[in-house]
């Protein structure tokens, strides 16, 4: 059996490209689109795959990461999916990739102009847990009425002494739209600001696409006297010794042994002796 190029039929890809163009034109604004059934379940990156399928061409080089790693099940199977259906070259090297599909991380290596990073998004609406009514949250976006989000930050600081969101920390895009950065660690938020690469976000279950064009300002929400201050585990990487990368904590035995290693496996391999 033969599939259409990159699995989706051409009409669907055109529909998704239109949504992407609109999303790029209104940075941070969520554009609804008709998400299709994909050959893997919701929550496994169906939104990201549909975005990637709509923009990928034969000369592209694809990298897929899951929590920073190139070798996890999700990353391997999505990479193989596009190798089979689109016949594209794949890579694990950030520098070589033209499209990077990611779940929950931004690579440590600074992305370059011309690269595209596609985020898999479980919940695109940053206000969802504060305002249950979709109609109302749409209105709040339209009126840029974001006091509610600030209330959540206030609550975090009042209860925990600091902003408690270690991941999915809400951002203001281009000074206008409040946006969920997808569940990347707060550590990665500053990388989104004025990034030279195009950032696309796809949420398959929620049927939303949004985008941040290159060199757009992305500011993490905070208070003047409690500036945004992401957490990084205070250790060097046990493999490559990096002191400036985001670390995973790995339990090594059942007597409390643990090690901290780079979450970005490509970054770590490049640096390791």
């Amino acid at each position: 059996m033969t599939y259409s190029y990159a699995f989706l039929d051409e009409a669907t890809k055109r529909m998704i490209r239109r949504a992407i163009l609109k999303a790029v034109a209104i940075p941070g604004h969520q554009v609804p689109f008709g998400a299709r059934e994909m050959p893997l379940p919701y929550g496994w990156g169906t939104g990201g795959i549909q975005v990637t399928a709509s923009i990928i061409g034969r000369s592209d080089v694809l990298k897929v990461i899951d929590q920073g790693a190139d070798d996890t099940t999700n990353a391997v199977s999505i990479r193989r999916f596009f190798a089979r259906t689109a016949g594209v070259a794949t890579t694990t090297h950030t520098a070589e990739a033209s499209i990077i599909q990611t779940r929950h991380r931004i690579p440590e290596r600074v992305l370059q102009p011309g690269q595209i990073i596609v985020y898999q998004v479980p919940m695109p609406e940053p206000l969802s847990r504060l305002e249950p009514r979709v109609v109302e949250s749409t209105k709040l976006h339209a009126l840029a009425d974001y006091g509610l989000m600030q209330v959540r930050l206030y609550e975090d600081i009042a209860r925990h002494g600091r902003s408690a969101s270690a991941y999915n920390h809400p951002v203001m895009v281009n000074g206008r739209y409040l946006m969920s950065p997808s569940p990347i660690p707060a550590f990665d938020n500053p990388k989104m600001d004025r990034m030279p690469a195009l950032q696309l976000f796809g949420a398959g279950r929620e049927k939303r696409i949004y985008a941040v064009p290159p060199y757009t300002s992305v500011k993490s929400l905070d208070f003047e006297d409690h500036p945004f201050d992401p957490i990084r585990a205070p250790h060097p990487c046990a493999i490559c010794g990096a002191t400036d990368s985001y670390l995973d904590e790995i339990v090594t035995d059942d007597v409390g042994g643990r090690m901290f290693v780079c979450s970005d496996t490509d970054h770590c391999e490049e640096r390791a002796p």
């Binding site: 006091g147 209330v151 206030y154 609550e155 208070f223």
Partner: protein
Amino acid sequence: MSAPLMQATGLTLNFGRIRALDDVGISIWPGEVVAIVGESGSGKSTLLRVLSGQAQADAGQVLYDGQDVGAMTEAGRRRLLRAEWGFVHQNPRDGLRMAVSAGGNIGERLMAQGNCHYGNIRKSAASWLQKVEIEVDRLDDLPRTFSGGMQQRLQIARTLVTEPRLIFMDEPTGGLDVSVQARLLDLIRALVAELGLAVLIVTHDIAAARLLAHRIVVMRHGRVVEEGLTDRVLDDPQHPYTQLLVTSVLAA
């Protein structure tokens, strides 16, 4: 005398065959407390909703500070509702965020206006908590750990923190026991005098109206049947319905 802060004329609203408002006119001047009294179903709360822009009348006009509220954009109305107006609900659960601490509740309107300094927000939340006679150490407690009277006072603090010019109150003392009611009325009276607020208060409690209001508007079947200074209306009621209302008040 200066122009009224809010002036409504010819308000009419039908719910199907039921006439909820029938050619209602009402004015309120800065610093004035006006009570709307009447039995259940007389259109009091509907009038309040129409005046505050939460419902649209079939006919008639509401002017606030010279602007037509009905012709405003949604953005303009919301800006008024969070900056210049306040709404105190009968049930504090409708006006408070129950999953957010007392401090967060009070600070919400400040943050909605773009205030981004945690320390300042917290300071004014604490001072408002004191003004409504709640211990400052309850600042980080959730409203559901508060008694009914305290929740209502918290709702008032949350509404007044941005120092609005006009407050709508829908039966603010409903559902509270008598001694708590008395304290709340005292508090409202003191704050209104201190801040020079204009208040439109809907109540079926004649005694509360006498205590708080400068003027009384009596409604029945969606119509204003009598209107005047509080003491005049209550001591010398003209309309038969007002006479009935005044004589039905139970004396302790």
